[in-house]
């Protein structure tokens, strides 16, 4: 039996192409099967991680396929953490507009990080916004 607090960790790197989000999705699908994650948490993970990877591909690496997005996963006893890192210039995660404000509510964009903050139990931006850590607790 494994008694370490960190039970498992995996890291992948993908070129910054939007279609590569499919790789991330199947990566998350695999973890769902291996660790028996329930449907609601799976949905929260799926959407939050794909939002973070999309931001890394589009806004961080500007869809430059020579730049990579790194995705790391680590399992603890009561939680799973994802770390998403790009090679872009970073950004100020404290200066974001509220997408539910009346002037923004029907704007098409600006919801990605807002959704991550609602779906993940913890969201930490590091490294001037180039890295985001997402933590999901198990019930």
């Amino acid at each position: 039996m494994n008694t370490n607090s960190v039970m498992d960790s995996i890291r992948i790197q993908i070129p910054s192409i939007v279609e590569n989000i499919r790789i991330v999705e199947s990566f998350i699908d695999n973890t769902k099967d291996v660790y028996d994650i329930n449907d609601d948490i799976y949905g929260n993970i799926m959407i939050s991680v794909t939002e973070a990877v999309n931001n890394a591909i589009k806004h961080g690496n500007k869809e430059n396929p020579d730049k990579k997005v790194a995705l790391a996963l680590s399992f603890q006893e009561n939680a799973v953490s994802f770390s998403i890192e790009d090679e872009g210039p970073g950004f100020d995660s404290t200066k974001l507009e509220d997408p539910t404000a009346p002037e923004n509510i029907d704007k098409p964009g600006g919801r990605g990080i807002f959704l991550m903050r609602h779906l993940a139990d913890e969201v930490h931006f590091k490294n001037n916004g180039r890295t985001v850590d997402l933590v999901f607790y198990f019930p």
């Binding site: 939007v18 949905g43 959407i47 794909t50 539910t100 964009g109 990605g112 807002f114």
Partner: protein
């Protein structure tokens, strides 16, 4: 993007055959809305019963469809919204902006009803501002 379109006289029904409405699918859905709007279809029903998960790009494409229909004084109705998709719509507070009905049939009925109302000229002015 896998989908079917049912073109009727009064409305157009789009049924998405995708489990995820994400960044790999949403741009196509958005351009489909733009094309249909340009072709003069103003009443759209989007059947999301097969979509289990949606991300911000998916919500974005739906908002574009909604705005195009509203600008054309038509209807844009979502039907068959599943649990996790509804959760994201509510988190984003888009349930205050979008027309959402449980089934396609109810969506069709509501389109017919609002068409009838506007023909009779008894429609109370909606706040479109």
């Amino acid at each position: 993007m896998k989908y079917t379109i049912d073109k009727q006289e009064k409305y157009l029904l789009i049924q998405l055959h995708e489990a995820k409405l994400d960044a790999t699918v949403s741009p196509q859905l958005k351009s489909e809305f733009v094309t249909l709007n340009a072709e003069g279809y103003k009443n759209l029903i989007l059947d999301l019963s097969q979509v289990k998960y949606i991300d911000s790009s998916g919500l974005s494409s739906i908002l574009v469809g909604n705005r195009l229909a509203n600008d054309a004084e038509g209807a844009f109705v979502l039907a068959g919204v599943t649990d996790h998709v509804m959760k994201l719509i509510k988190i984003s507070q888009l349930d205050s902006v979008l027309d959402i009905l449980p089934t396609v049939q109810e969506a069709i009925d509501s389109v017919f009803f609002s068409e009838l109302e506007s023909q009779l000229g008894t429609e109370e002015s909606d706040d479109k501002a």
